[in-house]
Point group: C2
Chain length 177, copies 2
DNA sequence: TATTGTTATACTCTATAACTATA
DNA sequence: TATAGTTATAGAGTATAACAATA
């Protein structure tokens, strides 16, 4: 049996669908109910469920705002890592972003074709190539980063700045071990 | 141009890969660096990036622990929603979990084939069918839920119980609007 | 006319094997 | 012998269109 991928746990949300009037036969008592009318109180106690839904909400806005730049989240991550780490290799990007090398090839090729990055010979390893942003790439990445930073505040407008800081710090504590 | 999916933002992490000795040419000053040696300080300020990585960390453990039950995260969510909302319809599950109806069909069919759920005629709408857990399904869901609850604490062992509560509450504030 | 569940199918994303050039 | 980058391709996940039955 093939291992299930993690991918299906995040999905792009679409236009809200009007929920049918079929109420659940016996909703659990106690917990508040979601907008769908279903009892989701248990799932909402789970960090995985909450992190997935929060990531989903943020990424949805991200997709919309980054569309003008022609950048998916992964493209933005790649471009940003190159911007902050000029000369970085494909292999390093793969390790950091957990992308398999064969799947990065197309992205790099595409960014190169768009004239956003340049591949220069690596100073000490002739197998590798150092990745750099072109002038145009620097320009685009700068704009995209501004957009991402602005987005950061917009998607968390239900939180105080202090709460956002706390949230980010706690999330980092979960995945940095 | 086809819209990018949100799926590529989450991926199953694999065995850690030894990072090459190619250091970045000019790491940004100030921020602490990730284990890969790259400067990821900016990305780590982004809620989307942090939520994605945290979800990734949790889901990875989830996949491993739920494998004995033959349940992917989405299967567990479906089973759990049916458990807590007996008589729920496919349409309601789709709305709550943001699954497209055609993609839920196979999952429901599979759970039915495994004898975990039963499809009964809907009391008031002959188009729909009410979903219920079988005795075996109830048993499995109960065990799986116990596993999920235990996992919840294990993956957050770098957090105090109070911090975990805070984290979950803040995440809910992000996606509940 | 709209909705539930469904089939068929296209497209995107993720993973594995294997090759070359170099270390 | 191992690693960086690459190609080809298989497998899993996500999306749209369209249909029959019912509301």
């Amino acid at each position: 049996m093939p291992e299930p991928s993690v991918a299906n746990t995040l999905r792009r949300p679409r236009a809200p669908r009007k929920t049918a009037g079929t109420a659940p036969a016996s909703p659990s008592a106690g917990g508040p109910e979601a907008s769908s009318g279903l009892d989701t109180s248990y799932l909402e106690t789970l960090l995985g469920y909450n992190a997935r839904r929060a990531a989903l909400a943020v990424i949805t806005v991200f997709l919309r705002r980054m569309a003008p730049f022609g950048l998916r989240p992964v493209d933005f991550s790649v471009l940003t890592l190159i911007a902050h780490n000029p000369g970085v290799t494909s292999r390093q990007l793969c390790a950091e972003l957990d992308i398999l090398p064969p799947n990065l090839v197309g992205m790099i090729k595409n960014l190169d074709k768009r004239g956003l990055i340049e591949r220069k010979p690596h100073p000490s390893d002739r197998r590798a190539q150092g990745l750099h942003l072109s002038a145009e790439g620097k320009q685009l990445q700068k704009q995209a980063q501004l957009t991402a930073t602005r987005l950061e505040h917009d998607v968390s407008d239900t939180l105080t700045p202090a709460e956002l800081d706390t949230l980010n710090a706690l999330l980092r504590k979960v995945y940095q071990r």
